[in-house]
């Protein structure tokens, strides 16, 4: 049985934050869950996906976050407890339904999780999604620890059901990817069959209806303010004239700092966990007893601005500070020592930082940049495109996935990346605005996510570029999740359909469509040249399974290669494709047999014909 399905209240185990959140949802009786995978949220959905195979929980990987939210909105309006989770930038994709779903509301508990990524460990920006709660009018909860995340999601479902409004649960990477002991709780029974009661004056958002719904939304937010004032997630810890207001992981950094500085008897901390709507009364009460207040929050001054406004309303004129040049930054994530130093500085306590090691004289260490895997078919595709386009002035818009790494030399096939699906749409613009040849790249999952709409646009407006769809049969970047083009039978999961990309692209009206097997280098280059010569939109589908996936599914027999004596050392392999299985020993190129999978790309490009399967 899946470890998170065990009905053993009181059992204490070590869980990843994302596992704790999945378990909390199950304890809350979640019956319906949707997502599009994105780090740092991916393991929540992975665990729910696994559990759905062993229970009557419904889970789906939707084509994108907007679809996931719309599917979830219907379930939550049919009376099922529903969970929709995504990474922070995913909520941008879902923003359109989000802003109106707050008007419509729900009939059963619905939680929308946004996993924010301060410091961008695996993201293209560090936006602070607390503003979405304020923007759309959603109650919001923010946990400070792994164990609390599990309890909070249960409360979030209750809160949502009592207000008839979806609730946003906002985490950050340091909650999602932290581990701690968590005690299992009772499992609430799942209600898996719902019924939609028609209610057009609530559910059909024509202007006449929505005017009334906006009024009701504000009334619900008023009720939510009352609940935030009394919420156990908002509490004061300690007593003293020096005030600290903190949320999320910053609360624990502040708590540790107060202890480390030995100022427990002088300091009171207001921890806010129910942060939208902000509890004005509670905050004003807190401010009354303080001489000076420091707001500790990663990201934007979300709480700080509200606190200052409440102070003004209450006529309180004490110093309140958070973000400033000499205090907290709006950049990146915080850490315990930094929070300790700022608290000491703001309140005027002596503080000697630890004696850090002088690193000015340590030997130089080469960087260890991430790289496309040994045997990754994207490398072959990028290489073939570069060779086929030799002598041409090309722009290569790229997209979000493993293949973003193609931007690095020597492949250098990534000139513009902003968000999922952007390679296709930006190609429309580059093709129209310049005289350069545009060759763009997108993965299969990302194509389904939001590449299709760009391609529809390209066909209609008769744009001019070549799109390479990298079809590796899985969502590789986030850990091998399925997408609509995946053969689910092969995964041992019947009951799914399958969308064929080639048929789809042809049906969209693309006139020039070709399919390549990227490890057949010469043939691929010929096909690519033909596509590049086409005036208009051409699509090349590059088909080869993700090597990590193929290995784990035992679809690929690994057969390492070696460099033989025929090598005359012009290093075309290293300078052209830079596979991480190459290394140089005594000036000669070698292949690491432990990591080479035998894709034979290097063997095909070696002018000496010196690379052969290793004789075993």
């Amino acid at each position: 049985m899946h470890k998170l399905l065990k009905d053993s209240p009181g059992e204490k185990i070590m869980l990843l934050g994302n596992e704790a959140i999945a378990r909390g949802a199950v304890e809350a009786g979640v019956a319906f869950a949707t997502t599009y995978p994105g780090t740092p949220s991916s393991e929540i959905s992975l665990n729910l996906f696994q559990m759905s195979k062993e229970s009557d929980l419904y889970f789906e990987y939707s084509t994108n976050e907007k679809v996931a939210l719309e599917v979830a909105a219907a379930a939550a309006n049919s009376g099922l407890r529903t969970f929709c989770m995504m990474k922070h930038v995913g909520l941008n994709v879902a923003a359109d339904p989000l802003m109106t779903l707050s008007y419509v509301g729900v009939t059963a508990g619905m939680v929308i999780l946004t996993a924010d990524d301060p410091a961008m460990f695996s993201s293209q920006n560090e936006q602070d999604n607390r503003y979405y709660a304020k923007f759309g009018g959603f109650p919001m909860l923010e946990p400070s620890s792994v164990a609390e995340a599990k309890e909070m999601i249960k409360e979030a479902f209750e809160l949502s059901e009592s207000l008839k409004q979806p609730v946003i649960l906002r985490t950050t990477t340091r909650i999602n990817h932290s581990n701690a002991f968590v005690a299992f709780g009772e499992m609430k029974e799942r209600k898996t069959r719902g019924r939609f009661e028609k209610d057009p004056m609530r559910c059909v958002t024509v202007p006449a209806v929505s005017r009334g719904l906006h009024v009701k939304l504000l009334e619900r937010l008023d009720s939510a303010t009352g609940l935030a004032e009394k919420s156990d997630f908002n509490f004061v810890q300690g007593d003293g004239p020096l005030g600290i207001i903190a949320n999320g992981v910053s609360f624990h950094y502040a708590e540790d700092a107060v202890k480390d500085l030995g100022i427990e008897d002088k300091t009171r901390i207001l921890r806010l966990g129910f942060t939208n709507p902000m509890p004005a009364g509670l905050i004003k009460d807190f401010l009354k007893d303080c001489e000076k207040v420091l707001v500790v929050e990663e990201g934007e001054p979300f709480m700080e601005e509200a606190v200052k406004a409440f102070a003004q309303e209450a006529g309180i004129t004490i110093p309140i500070q958070g973000k400033s040049a000499d205090l907290f930054s709006r950049l990146y994530e915080y850490d315990p020592a930094m929070v300790r130093e700022k608290i000491a500085a703001f309140f005027g306590f002596d503080y000697t930082p630890v004696n850090k090691i002088d690193t000015s004289d340590i030997p130089e260490i080469a960087n260890r940049p991430p790289n496309l895997c040994s045997g990754c078919s994207h490398r072959a595709t990028f290489y073939a495109v570069q060779k086929a386009a030799e002598g041409m002035d090309i722009i290569c818009p790229n997209d979000i996935g493993c293949y973003t790494l193609g931007f690095m030399p020597p492949l250098s096939t990534g000139d513009f990346v902003i968000c999922m699906g952007s390679s296709v749409s930006s190609s429309c613009g580059f093709g129209r605005a310049t005289d350069q040849k545009v060759v763009s790249f997108i993965g299969d999952s990302t194509f389904f996510h939001s590449g299709i709409t760009g391609l529809v646009n390209a066909v209609f407006n008769k744009h001019n570029f070549t799109l390479v769809i990298l079809e590796n049969g899985i969502t590789a970047m986030t850990g091998h999740q399925p997408h609509p083009g995946v053969d689910m039978e092969q995964m041992g999961m019947p009951g799914y359909g399958r969308v064929d990309i080639e048929q789809l692209v042809r049906a969209l009206g693309v006139e020039h469509v070709s399919v390549i097997k990227p490890f057949k280098v010469k043939k691929s280059m010929e096909t690519i040249r033909e596509a590049l010569a086409f005036d208009g939109v051409s699509v090349i589908i590059s088909k080869e399974p993700c090597i990590l996936w193929a290995k784990s599914m035992k679809l690929k027999k690994v057969r390492p290669f070696e460099v033989t004596d025929k090598c005359t050392d012009h290093k075309e392999c290293i300078n052209g494709i830079a596979c991480p299985s190459f290394y140089i020993e005594a000036g000669r190129v070698k292949i690491d047999a432990n990591t080479c999978v035998g894709c034979a790309l290097c063997a095909q490009i070696c002018p000496d014909n010196a690379i052969r399967p290793l004789k075993q």
Binding site: K12, I13, M14, T39, F121, S122, S145, V146, R174, H177, S178, N179, A180, F181, V249, H252, Y253, E255, D256, K259, D335, P336, A337, M338, P353, V354, N355, K356, I357, D358, T359, I362, P363, E364, I365, A366, N367, R368, P369, P370, N371, L372, C373, C402, L405, L548, I574, A578, P580, F582, Y583, I584
Partner: protein, 199 residues
């Protein structure tokens, strides 16, 4: 227990996260509070994997520069790269078997001499244990057990104060049955090697 902060650095695929989970399990057995945080975004594609483990009474789950009590490095250059997390009071345990970054493999970057790495670590910290964990892992049965060899070495230093028995029990709980004997042997080999490897 007084707060003890451990940083583990490794290269993707070396088993850092399993090692962290074994230590977390050992903490559960010993009745010690623990919080851990991991960074592994691009790990599968050759990047660095870092775990921060805070034992004892603090409530944070990450470790600031200069504040690690122990640094456990699975790869010598990565151990050296993480020296900023240490102070003069930090104990360091490192593997000496190298996994040069690709950039070095193709001659586009420098990999420091292992002896030089050891010298710098020893000079700047409170003590260094350096063992060839790869050789011992192979002796135990598979290069995959490097992580458990290094846990053996860490426990030998007694920097965490955990009993050997607790950690062995944690390995039993967290290891797939097919690999248990190999991992127990790997742990013993690391434990013994560290007794003689303080440099």
């Amino acid at each position: 227990m007084k707060t003890t902060r451990l940083i583990i650095v490794a290269v993707g695929g070396q088993g850092n996260l399993l090692a962290s989970k074994v230590l977390g399990e050992a903490a559960l057995i010993e009745g010690v509070e623990v919080r851990m945080s991991e960074i592994h975004g691009m790990a599968q594609r050759g990047g660095v994997v870092e775990s921060a483990i805070v034992f004892g009474n603090a409530t944070s789950s990450i470790i600031s520069d200069g504040e690690a009590d122990i640094l456990l490095g699975f790869e010598p250059a990565e151990t050296l790269r993480a020296i900023g997390r240490c102070s003069a009071d930090t104990k360091v345990v490192t593997n000496t078997a190298t996994l040069p970054p690709f950039t070095v493999g193709i001659g586009k970057g420098a990999y420091p001499e292992v002896e030089e790495i050891k010298r710098v670590l020893k000079e700047k910290t409170a003590g260094l244990v350096a063992i060839d964990a790869m050789a011992l892992a192979k002796e135990a049965g598979s290069p995959m057990s490097v992580n458990i060899v290094l846990l053996g070495a860490l426990i030998q230093t007694n920097a965490l104060g955990f009993s050997k028995e607790s950690v062995i029990e944690a390995i039993r709980r967290r290891t797939k049955p097919a690999f248990l004997d190999m991992n127990l042997k790997a742990f013993e080999l690391g434990f013994e090697a560290a007794a003689n490897s303080v440099v």
